[in-house]
Symmetry: C2
Subunit: 183 residues, 2 copies
């Protein structure tokens, strides 16, 4: 069995970071995994800002209360509307909505890659958009969607409880528990 499955099953949110720096090559590896995510109609309507300078990380954190502790880096994951807005109205709206899902998939790749390499992180959706735009010089057509702090763990994170699998997965028709599966 691939260890990729273990990486997915053991990933959990990390909010408490060790002060260690993350090596440039490793950051590059994480970013490679991130941009390999699925992308609707191959639009790649996404844009990412990687913030590693400690002063900038501190300022970013002040505008995103979900960022706790002092991460070694923060990735601000955005939709690039210049790549969704050139299409006819309803197609444009649909590609825009789907591109948000692609950005989320890219962030999941980033979090999985981090976990695979002994780091951790946390997707944060609550932040003061205007202030973050100002801090990072983000133009109007780039829309910040998730702020992702990353770093080495200060201590092992605690996995969150999950709903019973049979409650969230149906078999053939909605509401039918999967036959023969364990919860």
């Amino acid at each position: 069995m691939s260890d990729a499955l273990d990486v997915m099953r053991t990933r959990t949110v990390l909010r408490n970071y060790a002060p260690e720096r993350v090596d440039d090559t490793l950051v590059d590896t994480l970013l490679d995994a991130m941009v390999a995510a699925p992308t609707a109609s191959n639009k790649q309507a996404w844009s990412f800002v990687v913030v590693r300078e400690p002063g900038s990380v501190r300022r970013l954190r002040a505008f995103a209360p979900g960022v706790i502790g002092t991460p070694a880096l923060v990735v601000v994951a955005c939709v690039d509307r210049s790549r969704t807005d050139r299409l006819p109205g309803h197609v444009s709206q649909k590609i825009y909505e789907t591109s948000k899902l692609c950005v989320a998939m890219a962030v999941e790749n980033l979090l999985l890659a981090a976990h695979a390499e002994g780091l951790g992180g946390c997707p944060v959706s609550s932040f003061r958009e205007r202030q973050i735009r100002g801090l990072l010089g983000i133009p109007d057509h780039i829309e910040p969607l998730l702020v992702v702090p990353l770093g080495y763990p200060a201590e092992a994170p605690t996995p969150s409880d999950r709903r019973d699998k049979n409650e969230v997965i149906s078999n053939e028709r909605w509401g039918h528990a999967p036959a023969g599966t364990s919860a």
Copy 2:
């Protein structure tokens, strides 16, 4: 280096499926990876319908033109609004929007797990929602977001071209290419 990184980097969209059945235990493994995705505020506001019966797969495909060929199974990934709507208005809307991103992350886990195990798939966002609701008995509070066909590849899929990394990733401030990274 973890093979999880290779799984992420080599995953690509599969649209041409072999007629082979996928073993029950393997389906269960893929679903375990799927529901291990991040979930905003641990709401787990998601619901998934797994369709494997060949007649149902054929009918589903008729309502989702992005599903090409004959996949061994289809997972319909949904947001569960009953878990986002009980909150005050603006919190409810925010959790709903973020829960869509979590469903997308769960779908990415599903696609990565499939690829790790020699299968492939494709996230499809264009489908006739009303007809799929009718076919699968999906109630009003469950909102289908992505339809995901999965199966063994009939032939090796072709990776899509990607934008130059320096075009989509900025360093410290938006528009600044990462220093010392390769494209």
